[in-house]
Amino acid sequence: MIRFEHVTLRYPSGQEALRDLSFALEEGEFAFLTGHSGAGKSTLLKLILLLERPTRGRVLVKGKDLAALDRRQVPFFRRRVGVVFQDPHLLLDRTVFENVALPLEVMGFPRADIPRRVRAALDKVGLLDKERAWPGHLSAGEQQRVGIARAVVHKPRLLLADEPTGNLDPELSAEIMALFRLFNEVGVTVLVATHDVELIAPFHCRRLHLRQGRLAEPPP
């Protein structure tokens, strides 16, 4: 699904965020991306989303070299990926329903289909009763779940998450992780970046550990 081949990313300042990074993630896999903050986790996810481009090396998604995508094609590529951030970036002037419906509107889904799909996504994250609520009135955990509903409402085959539990207490964090697990069980490839090693201990999943921009053995 995802393949990095000798990827190096050097910022204009000269700082190297990633160094000669190679790995592959199979379709349907669930993997954690760990490492201290600044180790390059976010940068790696940004490369997959085409928010950054590698200085050297290739990033392939589903066998396709992302370097071959021109600016016009980038939006259509992003539609195949769901993404969750530490800050869910909800739009506060829109209801929960409207926030979750946004990707469907952007992608031009038939309008008649939108309510059904939005409610299915809200149902999965357990917030069906909150569709009319304003995001500002929700708890942090609920906001993050709305963000997840928005990331999966269009049923992407690949889900990326960058510190999705960064603002949450351990109990809520475990809930969120369980949600990702659920999506993985129906075949979605999931890659979760987190620095919270204790949180992922119960999951016996693949772990990609980054240290100073390189893949490293995870500390025990």
């Binding site: 928010l51 950054e52 939006p75 259509f76 992003r78 970036h89 031009g108």
Partner: protein, 324 residues
């Protein structure tokens, strides 16, 4: 998932229609929400539209004024503005024959022979110097032919000038007087004012672009978060741009309408101001103002400038948001 059901053509067409419907819906939604956003800050929006309207109204007023001037001048009664003076040796019969011949010309409505005796009688009657004529031994006035152009002088000036030159070359003609100096001066003035109007228009159009651009830039700035999210979930540039293009369209179109109103009002006031003078110069009574075409042109130009200004501003902002 991508299996093609039977009847593919129909299905393709259905998808096409469906996409078009979606697109139209999206345009309507954006048009309305842009309008709502402008209405949410009524004072600010009205001020922007007013500034733009004044910028559009200034050149528009000049151009409408020139058009009115030319229209009124073109319609003035210009009979007797061309006189062909004949040589002394031309006998009245030959003069009359020439007049009849000239009356057949397509550029002329009529040609009237005026004998030297008639000319003297007219002079005596109209000039107020009649007594002076008594002192002369013989009639100093030549016979002439007065030409009446078929169309307003201003429209046919070149053809009439050609005719005058041609007549002047004839042996029986002494001189042709084509009294068009004032018309030429008017035309030169009209050209000058029109050039000033276009120059001012071009300068102020740039101002309109900048004002709309700045307004849209602020609008983009205030919705950065939303644009960011839209881009993450796969919004195309066109999708991101659309609401802001409508903002520019509304501002520009509204300004065009406002400018039309200002120019219309200006001409209304002008009419009131010249009303006393119209008693002596009836032509002033014909003074109109901007019409439906001017209204359509102002709204169209305003909307276009708004659209272009918005587009430039969003493009600049998108570059900073898009990343590499």
């Amino acid at each position: 998932m991508k299996r093609r059901p039977p009847g593919g053509a129909r299905r393709t067409r259905a998808r096409w229609v469906h996409r078009l419907q979606n697109e139209l819906h999206d345009h309507r939604r954006n048009a309305l929400s842009s309008l709502r956003r402008l209405a949410a800050t009524p004072f600010q929006s009205a001020l922007t539209v007013a500034v733009l309207a004044v910028a559009l109204a200034l050149p528009a007023a000049l151009l409408v004024a020139v058009a009115e001037l030319e229209r009124i001048a073109g319609g003035l009664d210009l009979e007797g503005q061309i006189t062909v003076f004949l040589r002394r040796e031309v006998v009245p019969e030959a003069g009359r024959a020439l007049a009849e011949q000239l009356a057949q010309r397509p550029q002329l409505a009529a040609a009237r022979y005026v004998s030297s005796a008639e000319a003297l009688a007219q002079f005596r009657e109209h000039s107020g110097w009649g007594d002076l004529v008594e002192l002369l031994d013989e009639n100093p006035l030549p016979a002439s032919i007065e030409l009446v152009p078929a169309r307003p002088l201003a429209e046919d000036l070149e053809a009439l000038r050609g005719l005058a030159a041609e007549l002047e070359a004839r042996p029986e003609v002494d001189q042709v007087v084509l009294d068009v100096a004032w018309l030429e001066r008017l035309a030169a003035l009209a050209t000058l004012v029109r050039r000033v109007g276009w120059g001012l228009g071009a300068t102020l159009a740039l101002g309109v672009l900048l004002v709309v651009g700045n307004t849209v830039r602020l609008a983009v700035e205030s919705r950065r978060e939303e644009i960011q999210v839209v881009m993450w979930v796969g919004g195309t540039d066109a999708y991101v741009r659309r609401p802001f293009l409508y903002t520019g369209l509304w501002l520009g179109g509204g300004a065009g309408l406002g400018a039309f109103f200002l120019v219309w009002l200006g001409f209304r006031l002008l009419r009131l101001a010249v009303a006393p003078a119209a008693e002596f110069y009836p032509a002033l009574d014909q003074l109109g103002g901007p019409g439906a075409a001017a209204c359509a042109a102002l709204v169209g130009v305003g909307a276009l400038l708004g659209l272009v200004g918005a587009r430039l501003a969003v493009a600049a902002q998108l570059r900073t948001l898009r990343g590499p």
